[in-house]
Protein backbone atom coordinates (compact mmCIF):
# COMPACT_ATOMS: atom_id res chain seq x y z
CA UNK A 1 0.00 0.00 0.00
CA UNK A 2 2.70 2.49 1.05
CA UNK A 3 4.77 1.39 -1.92
CA UNK A 4 1.88 1.96 -4.29
CA UNK A 5 1.40 5.45 -2.82
CA UNK A 6 5.10 6.19 -3.17
CA UNK A 7 4.99 5.26 -6.85
CA UNK A 8 1.61 6.87 -7.59
CA UNK A 9 2.13 10.18 -5.78
CA UNK A 10 4.61 11.69 -8.25
CA UNK A 11 2.61 10.35 -11.21
CA UNK A 12 -0.55 11.95 -9.88
CA UNK A 13 1.25 15.25 -9.34
CA UNK A 14 2.62 15.22 -12.91
CA UNK A 15 -0.84 14.36 -14.29
CA UNK A 16 -2.39 17.24 -12.31
CA UNK A 17 0.24 19.71 -13.51
CA UNK A 18 -0.14 18.61 -17.13
CA UNK A 19 -3.94 18.76 -16.84
CA UNK A 20 -3.79 22.29 -15.40
CA UNK A 21 -1.39 23.33 -18.15
CA UNK A 22 -3.64 21.87 -20.86
CA UNK A 23 -6.74 23.56 -19.42
CA UNK A 24 -4.98 26.91 -19.02
CA UNK A 25 -3.71 26.82 -22.60
CA UNK A 26 -7.18 26.13 -23.93
CA UNK A 27 -9.07 28.53 -21.66
CA UNK A 28 -6.64 31.44 -22.19
CA UNK A 29 -6.05 30.65 -25.87
CA UNK A 30 -2.27 30.90 -25.42
CA UNK A 31 -0.54 31.09 -28.83
CA UNK A 32 1.13 27.75 -29.70
CA UNK A 33 4.50 29.41 -30.49
CA UNK A 34 4.54 30.88 -26.96
CA UNK A 35 3.43 27.90 -24.89
CA UNK A 36 2.07 24.82 -26.63
CA UNK A 37 -0.43 22.63 -24.75
CA UNK A 38 0.86 19.25 -23.48
CA UNK A 39 -1.31 17.52 -26.08
CA UNK A 40 0.53 19.40 -28.85
CA UNK A 41 3.87 18.48 -27.31
CA UNK A 42 2.74 14.85 -27.13
CA UNK A 43 1.72 14.96 -30.78
CA UNK A 44 5.13 16.37 -31.67
CA UNK A 45 6.85 13.66 -29.59
CA UNK A 46 5.03 11.01 -31.61
CA UNK A 47 5.37 12.68 -35.00
CA UNK A 48 9.06 13.60 -34.55
CA UNK A 49 10.01 10.41 -32.71
CA UNK A 50 12.48 9.08 -35.33
CA UNK A 51 14.25 12.44 -35.61
CA UNK A 52 14.32 13.01 -31.85
CA UNK A 53 15.55 9.50 -31.11
CA UNK A 54 18.36 9.67 -33.63
CA UNK A 55 19.35 13.10 -32.27
CA UNK A 56 19.20 11.74 -28.72
CA UNK A 57 21.41 8.86 -29.77
CA UNK A 58 23.91 11.35 -31.26
CA UNK A 59 24.06 13.33 -28.05
CA UNK A 60 24.27 10.19 -25.94
CA UNK A 61 27.02 8.69 -28.11
CA UNK A 62 29.07 11.87 -27.91
CA UNK A 63 28.54 12.08 -24.15
CA UNK A 64 29.57 8.45 -23.63
CA UNK A 65 32.62 8.87 -25.81
CA UNK A 66 33.52 11.96 -23.77
CA UNK A 67 33.04 9.94 -20.59
CA UNK A 68 35.43 7.26 -21.84
CA UNK A 69 38.03 9.85 -22.84
CA UNK A 70 37.67 11.71 -19.54
CA UNK A 71 37.90 8.46 -17.60
CA UNK A 72 41.09 7.39 -19.36
CA UNK A 73 42.76 10.78 -18.90
CA UNK A 74 41.55 11.33 -15.35
CA UNK A 75 42.54 7.87 -14.10
CA UNK A 76 45.99 8.02 -15.72
CA UNK A 77 46.66 11.49 -14.37
CA UNK A 78 45.36 10.54 -10.92
CA UNK A 79 47.68 7.53 -10.85
CA UNK A 80 50.67 9.67 -11.82
CA UNK A 81 49.64 12.35 -9.36
CA UNK A 82 49.09 9.97 -6.47
CA UNK A 83 52.64 8.61 -6.71
CA UNK A 84 54.20 11.81 -5.41
CA UNK A 85 53.15 14.74 -3.24
CA UNK A 86 55.16 17.10 -5.44
CA UNK A 87 53.35 16.10 -8.61
CA UNK A 88 50.04 16.41 -6.77
CA UNK A 89 50.89 19.92 -5.54
CA UNK A 90 51.86 20.86 -9.08
CA UNK A 91 48.80 19.40 -10.80
CA UNK A 92 46.05 20.27 -8.36
CA UNK A 93 45.76 24.04 -8.98
CA UNK A 94 45.62 23.42 -12.73
CA UNK A 95 42.86 20.85 -12.31
CA UNK A 96 40.90 23.31 -10.15
CA UNK A 97 41.29 26.12 -12.69
CA UNK A 98 40.08 23.76 -15.39
CA UNK A 99 37.08 22.84 -13.26
CA UNK A 100 35.98 26.36 -12.36
CA UNK A 101 36.32 27.72 -15.92
CA UNK A 102 32.84 27.60 -17.48
CA UNK A 103 32.78 25.21 -20.43
CA UNK A 104 30.91 27.83 -22.47
CA UNK A 105 33.91 30.14 -22.15
CA UNK A 106 36.41 27.72 -23.62
CA UNK A 107 34.01 26.28 -26.20
CA UNK A 108 34.80 28.76 -29.04
CA UNK A 109 38.49 27.95 -28.69
CA UNK A 110 37.90 24.21 -28.79
CA UNK A 111 35.60 24.64 -31.79
CA UNK A 112 38.47 26.33 -33.65
CA UNK A 113 40.95 23.64 -32.61
CA UNK A 114 38.63 20.82 -33.57
CA UNK A 115 38.22 22.34 -36.99
CA UNK A 116 34.98 23.87 -38.21
CA UNK A 117 34.32 20.75 -40.27
CA UNK A 118 34.31 18.54 -37.17
CA UNK A 119 31.90 20.00 -34.61
CA UNK A 120 31.37 16.52 -33.11
CA UNK A 121 35.05 16.48 -32.07
CA UNK A 122 34.56 19.81 -30.33
CA UNK A 123 31.44 18.50 -28.58
CA UNK A 124 33.20 15.34 -27.38
CA UNK A 125 36.26 17.30 -26.17
CA UNK A 126 34.17 19.85 -24.28
CA UNK A 127 31.98 17.21 -22.68
CA UNK A 128 35.17 15.35 -21.69
CA UNK A 129 36.55 18.49 -20.05
CA UNK A 130 33.40 18.74 -17.93
CA UNK A 131 33.41 15.03 -17.07
CA UNK A 132 37.12 15.03 -16.22
CA UNK A 133 37.07 16.66 -12.80
CA UNK A 134 34.70 14.41 -10.83
CA UNK A 135 36.57 11.32 -12.02
CA UNK A 136 39.98 12.86 -11.35
CA UNK A 137 39.15 14.09 -7.88
CA UNK A 138 37.33 10.83 -7.05
CA UNK A 139 40.29 8.75 -8.19
CA UNK A 140 42.75 10.95 -6.30
CA UNK A 141 40.69 10.85 -3.09
CA UNK A 142 40.21 7.11 -3.50
CA UNK A 143 43.90 6.40 -4.01
CA UNK A 144 44.61 8.17 -0.72
CA UNK A 145 41.65 6.64 1.13
CA UNK A 146 43.28 3.36 2.14
CA UNK A 147 42.94 2.54 5.83
CA UNK A 148 46.18 3.89 7.43
CA UNK A 149 46.44 0.83 9.69
CA UNK A 150 46.11 -1.46 6.67
CA UNK A 151 48.87 0.60 5.08
CA UNK A 152 51.03 0.02 8.19
CA UNK A 153 50.38 -3.71 7.87
CA UNK A 154 51.52 -3.63 4.24
CA UNK A 155 54.71 -1.87 5.40
CA UNK A 156 55.16 -4.46 8.13
CA UNK A 157 54.80 -7.29 5.61
CA UNK A 158 57.45 -5.63 3.45
CA UNK A 159 55.12 -4.88 0.52
CA UNK A 160 56.74 -3.20 -2.48
CA UNK A 161 55.44 0.09 -3.88
CA UNK A 162 53.77 -1.80 -6.71
CA UNK A 163 52.11 -4.25 -4.29
CA UNK A 164 50.85 -1.36 -2.18
CA UNK A 165 49.38 0.28 -5.27
CA UNK A 166 47.84 -2.77 -6.90
CA UNK A 167 46.69 -4.63 -3.80
CA UNK A 168 45.78 -1.81 -1.44
CA UNK A 169 45.36 1.63 -2.96
CA UNK A 170 43.61 0.68 -6.21
CA UNK A 171 41.05 -1.61 -4.56
CA UNK A 172 40.47 1.01 -1.86
CA UNK A 173 39.74 3.56 -4.58
CA UNK A 174 36.97 1.52 -6.24
CA UNK A 175 33.97 3.07 -4.42
CA UNK A 176 35.30 6.59 -5.08
CA UNK A 177 35.87 5.76 -8.77
CA UNK A 178 32.30 4.47 -9.12
CA UNK A 179 30.88 7.62 -7.52
CA UNK A 180 33.09 9.81 -9.72
CA UNK A 181 31.93 8.09 -12.91
CA UNK A 182 28.29 8.37 -11.89
CA UNK A 183 28.57 12.12 -11.39
CA UNK A 184 30.68 12.48 -14.53
CA UNK A 185 28.09 10.65 -16.68
CA UNK A 186 25.43 13.25 -15.83
CA UNK A 187 27.89 16.09 -16.41
CA UNK A 188 28.99 14.64 -19.76
CA UNK A 189 25.41 14.96 -21.08
CA UNK A 190 25.22 18.55 -19.84
CA UNK A 191 28.64 19.25 -21.35
CA UNK A 192 27.65 17.74 -24.69
CA UNK A 193 24.47 19.81 -24.87
CA UNK A 194 26.25 23.06 -23.93
CA UNK A 195 28.99 22.34 -26.46
CA UNK A 196 26.43 21.64 -29.18
CA UNK A 197 24.83 25.02 -28.53
CA UNK A 198 28.15 26.82 -28.75
CA UNK A 199 29.38 24.85 -31.74
CA UNK A 200 26.08 25.96 -33.21
CA UNK A 201 26.36 23.93 -36.37
CA UNK A 202 24.22 21.17 -37.80
CA UNK A 203 27.24 18.94 -38.14
CA UNK A 204 26.76 17.30 -34.76
CA UNK A 205 22.95 16.85 -35.08
CA UNK A 206 22.29 16.22 -31.40
CA UNK A 207 19.30 17.13 -29.24
CA UNK A 208 20.65 20.61 -28.55
CA UNK A 209 20.77 21.23 -32.28
CA UNK A 210 17.14 20.10 -32.54
CA UNK A 211 16.21 22.59 -29.84
CA UNK A 212 18.05 25.43 -31.58
CA UNK A 213 16.61 24.51 -34.95
CA UNK A 214 13.03 24.21 -33.66
CA UNK A 215 13.48 27.50 -31.77
CA UNK A 216 14.58 29.30 -34.91
CA UNK A 217 11.49 27.99 -36.69
CA UNK A 218 9.20 28.81 -33.75
CA UNK A 219 8.25 25.10 -33.55
CA UNK A 220 7.85 25.44 -29.79
CA UNK A 221 6.09 22.08 -29.34
CA UNK A 222 9.09 20.33 -30.86
CA UNK A 223 11.41 22.29 -28.54
CA UNK A 224 9.47 20.96 -25.58
CA UNK A 225 9.49 17.45 -27.04
CA UNK A 226 13.29 17.60 -27.43
CA UNK A 227 13.62 18.92 -23.88
CA UNK A 228 11.47 16.06 -22.59
CA UNK A 229 13.63 13.50 -24.40
CA UNK A 230 16.77 15.16 -23.03
CA UNK A 231 15.42 15.06 -19.47
CA UNK A 232 14.34 11.45 -19.78
CA UNK A 233 17.69 10.46 -21.26
CA UNK A 234 19.61 12.15 -18.44
CA UNK A 235 17.42 10.52 -15.80
CA UNK A 236 17.74 7.09 -17.44
CA UNK A 237 21.53 7.39 -17.65
CA UNK A 238 21.71 8.46 -14.01
CA UNK A 239 19.51 5.54 -12.96
CA UNK A 240 21.64 3.15 -15.00
CA UNK A 241 24.88 4.35 -13.42
CA UNK A 242 23.27 4.26 -9.97
CA UNK A 243 22.30 0.62 -10.51
CA UNK A 244 25.74 -0.22 -11.87
CA UNK A 245 27.34 1.48 -8.87
CA UNK A 246 25.18 -0.45 -6.41
CA UNK A 247 25.86 -3.73 -8.15
CA UNK A 248 29.60 -3.10 -8.31
CA UNK A 249 29.74 -2.02 -4.66
CA UNK A 250 27.95 -5.21 -3.70
CA UNK A 251 30.48 -7.30 -5.59
CA UNK A 252 33.31 -5.23 -4.12
CA UNK A 253 32.31 -5.32 -0.45
CA UNK A 254 30.18 -8.47 -0.43
CA UNK A 255 27.20 -6.77 1.20
Amino acid sequence: MRRAVAILAPLVLVALLLGGWELACRALAVPAYFLPAPSAIGASLVADAPLLLSSAWNTLAMALMALLLASAFACTLALLTATSRTVERAVHPLAVVLQVTPVVAIAPLVVIWAGLAHPERAVVSLAAVVAFFPIFSGALTGLKAADPDLERLFDLYGASRWQKLSRLRLPSAVPYLLEGHKVAAGLAIIGAVVAEFVAGSGGAQGLAWRILEAGNRLQTARMFAALAVLGLMGAALHALFQMAERWALMRWGGR
Binding site: L150, L156, L168, G254
Partner: protein, 244 residues
Protein backbone atom coordinates in the same frame (compact mmCIF):
# COMPACT_ATOMS: atom_id res chain seq x y z
CA UNK B 1 66.76 -14.86 24.67
CA UNK B 2 65.67 -11.24 24.20
CA UNK B 3 63.36 -10.93 21.22
CA UNK B 4 62.95 -7.16 21.25
CA UNK B 5 63.99 -4.30 23.50
CA UNK B 6 63.41 -0.57 23.83
CA UNK B 7 66.36 1.13 25.51
CA UNK B 8 65.81 4.66 26.81
CA UNK B 9 63.68 5.47 23.78
CA UNK B 10 62.08 8.88 23.40
CA UNK B 11 59.63 9.85 20.68
CA UNK B 12 58.89 13.52 19.98
CA UNK B 13 55.99 14.59 17.80
CA UNK B 14 55.46 18.15 16.56
CA UNK B 15 52.88 18.67 19.33
CA UNK B 16 55.26 17.47 22.04
CA UNK B 17 56.84 14.38 23.52
CA UNK B 18 54.71 11.25 23.18
CA UNK B 19 56.90 8.67 24.85
CA UNK B 20 59.87 8.27 27.07
CA UNK B 21 62.37 7.87 28.22
CA UNK B 22 61.05 4.33 28.27
CA UNK B 23 62.63 0.89 28.61
CA UNK B 24 61.09 -2.46 27.84
CA UNK B 25 62.76 -5.78 27.29
CA UNK B 26 60.91 -8.80 25.99
CA UNK B 27 62.00 -12.43 26.29
CA UNK B 28 61.04 -15.02 23.68
CA UNK B 29 57.58 -16.45 24.34
CA UNK B 30 56.75 -13.96 27.07
CA UNK B 31 53.43 -12.09 27.42
CA UNK B 32 53.73 -8.49 28.62
CA UNK B 33 50.83 -6.08 29.02
CA UNK B 34 51.19 -2.30 28.73
CA UNK B 35 48.49 -0.51 30.72
CA UNK B 36 47.93 3.21 30.74
CA UNK B 37 45.47 6.00 29.99
CA UNK B 38 44.72 7.09 26.41
CA UNK B 39 47.55 9.07 24.86
CA UNK B 40 50.30 7.63 27.07
CA UNK B 41 52.32 6.44 24.11
CA UNK B 42 51.39 2.75 24.33
CA UNK B 43 50.65 2.53 20.62
CA UNK B 44 53.82 4.48 19.86
CA UNK B 45 55.81 1.91 21.85
CA UNK B 46 54.20 -0.86 19.78
CA UNK B 47 55.07 0.88 16.51
CA UNK B 48 58.69 1.14 17.68
CA UNK B 49 58.74 -2.58 18.46
CA UNK B 50 57.20 -3.34 15.06
CA UNK B 51 59.82 -1.22 13.31
CA UNK B 52 57.08 0.95 11.78
CA UNK B 53 58.52 4.05 13.43
CA UNK B 54 61.97 5.13 14.60
CA UNK B 55 62.61 6.70 18.02
CA UNK B 56 63.77 10.32 18.23
CA UNK B 57 66.41 9.18 20.76
CA UNK B 58 67.37 5.83 22.22
CA UNK B 59 67.76 2.36 20.75
CA UNK B 60 65.35 -0.29 19.52
CA UNK B 61 66.72 -3.84 19.37
CA UNK B 62 64.81 -6.44 17.42
CA UNK B 63 65.79 -10.09 17.10
CA UNK B 64 62.56 -10.82 15.25
CA UNK B 65 62.96 -9.90 11.60
CA UNK B 66 60.42 -8.28 9.31
CA UNK B 67 58.46 -11.40 8.48
CA UNK B 68 58.48 -12.51 12.10
CA UNK B 69 56.51 -9.63 13.59
CA UNK B 70 52.72 -9.28 13.46
CA UNK B 71 50.37 -6.55 14.65
CA UNK B 72 46.67 -6.66 15.53
CA UNK B 73 44.98 -3.27 15.79
CA UNK B 74 41.94 -2.11 17.74
CA UNK B 75 39.85 -2.39 14.58
CA UNK B 76 40.01 -5.66 12.63
CA UNK B 77 41.62 -3.70 9.73
CA UNK B 78 40.56 -6.17 7.05
CA UNK B 79 40.42 -5.35 3.35
CA UNK B 80 36.65 -5.14 2.64
CA UNK B 81 37.09 -6.36 -0.96
CA UNK B 82 38.79 -9.61 0.06
CA UNK B 83 37.26 -12.75 1.52
CA UNK B 84 38.29 -13.86 5.01
CA UNK B 85 40.68 -16.41 3.53
CA UNK B 86 42.21 -13.90 1.10
CA UNK B 87 42.70 -11.43 3.97
CA UNK B 88 44.53 -14.07 6.01
CA UNK B 89 46.59 -15.18 2.99
CA UNK B 90 47.68 -11.60 2.24
CA UNK B 91 50.88 -11.48 4.34
CA UNK B 92 52.04 -14.76 2.82
CA UNK B 93 51.30 -13.62 -0.73
CA UNK B 94 53.08 -10.31 -0.15
CA UNK B 95 56.08 -12.34 1.02
CA UNK B 96 56.03 -14.17 -2.30
CA UNK B 97 54.38 -17.46 -1.40
CA UNK B 98 52.42 -19.04 -4.30
CA UNK B 99 48.68 -18.40 -4.16
CA UNK B 100 47.59 -22.00 -3.55
CA UNK B 101 50.02 -22.56 -0.68
CA UNK B 102 49.14 -19.21 0.87
CA UNK B 103 45.45 -20.14 0.73
CA UNK B 104 46.03 -23.56 2.25
CA UNK B 105 47.89 -22.02 5.19
CA UNK B 106 45.24 -19.32 5.51
CA UNK B 107 42.49 -21.96 5.77
CA UNK B 108 44.48 -23.73 8.45
CA UNK B 109 44.92 -20.47 10.38
CA UNK B 110 41.19 -19.73 10.09
CA UNK B 111 40.46 -23.18 11.45
CA UNK B 112 42.75 -22.50 14.40
CA UNK B 113 40.71 -19.43 15.41
CA UNK B 114 37.46 -21.37 15.07
CA UNK B 115 36.38 -19.91 11.73
CA UNK B 116 36.51 -23.01 9.52
CA UNK B 117 33.72 -22.60 6.96
CA UNK B 118 33.77 -18.78 7.03
CA UNK B 119 36.64 -18.54 4.55
CA UNK B 120 34.55 -17.08 1.73
CA UNK B 121 32.71 -14.50 3.85
CA UNK B 122 33.52 -10.84 3.28
CA UNK B 123 34.41 -8.68 6.31
CA UNK B 124 31.05 -6.88 6.01
CA UNK B 125 29.28 -10.20 6.60
CA UNK B 126 31.20 -10.96 9.81
CA UNK B 127 30.34 -9.91 13.35
CA UNK B 128 32.85 -7.75 15.24
CA UNK B 129 34.20 -10.74 17.13
CA UNK B 130 34.52 -12.86 14.00
CA UNK B 131 36.31 -10.06 12.13
CA UNK B 132 38.74 -9.78 15.04
CA UNK B 133 39.37 -13.53 14.84
CA UNK B 134 40.17 -13.18 11.13
CA UNK B 135 42.57 -10.40 12.05
CA UNK B 136 44.16 -12.68 14.64
CA UNK B 137 44.44 -15.51 12.08
CA UNK B 138 46.15 -13.10 9.67
CA UNK B 139 48.63 -12.12 12.40
CA UNK B 140 49.42 -15.75 13.22
CA UNK B 141 49.56 -17.20 9.71
CA UNK B 142 53.19 -16.08 9.34
CA UNK B 143 54.07 -17.85 12.62
CA UNK B 144 55.54 -14.68 14.13
CA UNK B 145 58.04 -14.68 16.99
CA UNK B 146 56.70 -11.31 18.11
CA UNK B 147 52.97 -10.55 18.23
CA UNK B 148 51.91 -6.97 19.01
CA UNK B 149 48.30 -6.47 20.09
CA UNK B 150 47.13 -2.82 20.14
CA UNK B 151 43.94 -2.80 22.25
CA UNK B 152 42.62 -5.62 20.07
CA UNK B 153 39.38 -6.20 21.97
CA UNK B 154 38.52 -2.60 22.90
CA UNK B 155 35.64 -2.38 20.43
CA UNK B 156 34.02 -5.68 21.53
CA UNK B 157 31.48 -6.54 24.22
CA UNK B 158 32.66 -8.05 27.51
CA UNK B 159 31.65 -11.65 26.72
CA UNK B 160 33.30 -11.62 23.30
CA UNK B 161 36.48 -10.04 24.64
CA UNK B 162 36.81 -12.69 27.35
CA UNK B 163 36.34 -15.45 24.77
CA UNK B 164 38.94 -13.85 22.51
CA UNK B 165 41.39 -13.44 25.40
CA UNK B 166 41.13 -17.19 26.02
CA UNK B 167 41.57 -17.85 22.28
CA UNK B 168 44.74 -15.77 22.24
CA UNK B 169 46.09 -17.75 25.20
CA UNK B 170 45.36 -21.07 23.47
CA UNK B 171 47.04 -19.87 20.27
CA UNK B 172 49.98 -18.67 22.37
CA UNK B 173 50.50 -22.15 23.85
CA UNK B 174 50.57 -23.59 20.32
CA UNK B 175 52.89 -21.10 18.64
CA UNK B 176 54.65 -19.44 21.62
CA UNK B 177 55.21 -15.97 20.16
CA UNK B 178 56.31 -13.22 22.52
CA UNK B 179 53.25 -10.98 22.97
CA UNK B 180 53.06 -7.30 23.85
CA UNK B 181 49.52 -6.47 24.69
CA UNK B 182 48.33 -2.87 24.99
CA UNK B 183 45.11 -2.27 26.90
CA UNK B 184 43.47 0.08 29.34
CA UNK B 185 41.59 -2.73 30.99
CA UNK B 186 43.42 -3.75 34.20
CA UNK B 187 41.61 -7.11 34.60
CA UNK B 188 42.35 -8.09 31.01
CA UNK B 189 46.04 -7.23 31.48
CA UNK B 190 46.32 -9.25 34.69
CA UNK B 191 44.43 -12.20 33.19
CA UNK B 192 46.62 -12.50 30.10
CA UNK B 193 50.09 -11.25 30.95
CA UNK B 194 53.02 -12.56 32.93
CA UNK B 195 54.16 -8.98 33.48
CA UNK B 196 52.05 -5.84 33.58
CA UNK B 197 53.81 -2.53 32.92
CA UNK B 198 51.88 0.58 33.99
CA UNK B 199 52.57 3.77 32.06
CA UNK B 200 52.12 7.43 33.01
CA UNK B 201 50.02 9.82 30.92
CA UNK B 202 51.90 11.50 28.05
CA UNK B 203 54.79 11.48 27.73
CA UNK B 204 54.57 7.79 28.57
CA UNK B 205 57.06 6.48 31.12
CA UNK B 206 57.07 3.26 33.10
CA UNK B 207 55.29 3.95 36.39
CA UNK B 208 55.62 0.44 37.75
CA UNK B 209 55.71 -3.20 36.91
CA UNK B 210 53.83 -6.14 38.42
CA UNK B 211 54.77 -9.75 37.88
CA UNK B 212 51.65 -11.92 37.77
CA UNK B 213 52.58 -15.12 39.51
CA UNK B 214 50.21 -17.75 38.14
CA UNK B 215 50.57 -20.76 35.87
CA UNK B 216 50.31 -20.17 32.11
CA UNK B 217 48.09 -20.43 30.21
CA UNK B 218 45.50 -18.86 32.45
CA UNK B 219 42.07 -20.47 32.70
CA UNK B 220 38.77 -18.62 33.24
CA UNK B 221 38.62 -19.62 36.92
CA UNK B 222 41.81 -17.60 37.48
CA UNK B 223 39.58 -14.51 37.38
CA UNK B 224 37.94 -15.51 40.68
CA UNK B 225 41.11 -16.33 42.66
CA UNK B 226 42.78 -14.25 45.36
CA UNK B 227 46.09 -13.83 43.47
CA UNK B 228 44.14 -12.37 40.52
CA UNK B 229 42.36 -9.87 42.77
CA UNK B 230 45.58 -8.91 44.55
CA UNK B 231 47.43 -8.39 41.28
CA UNK B 232 44.56 -6.35 39.83
CA UNK B 233 44.53 -4.22 42.99
CA UNK B 234 48.29 -3.66 42.80
CA UNK B 235 48.09 -2.63 39.14
CA UNK B 236 45.09 -0.37 39.82
CA UNK B 237 46.99 1.35 42.64
CA UNK B 238 50.00 1.91 40.39
CA UNK B 239 47.71 3.30 37.74
CA UNK B 240 46.04 5.66 40.22
CA UNK B 241 49.48 6.82 41.43
CA UNK B 242 50.64 7.34 37.85
CA UNK B 243 47.59 9.47 37.07
CA UNK B 244 47.99 11.67 40.18
Amino acid sequence: MTIAALEAVEVDYPRGRALGPFDLSLEAGEIVALVGPSGCGKSTALRLLAGLEAPTRGTVRRAAGRGETSVVFQAATLAPWLSAAANVALPLELAGLPRARARAQALEALGRVGLAGAENARPAQLSGGMAMRVSLARALVTRPRLLLLDEPFAALDEITRRALADDVLVLWTELKPAIVFVTHNVEEAVYMAERVVVMTPGPGRAAGETAIDAAMPRLPRFRTTAPFRHAAEAVSNQLAAAMA
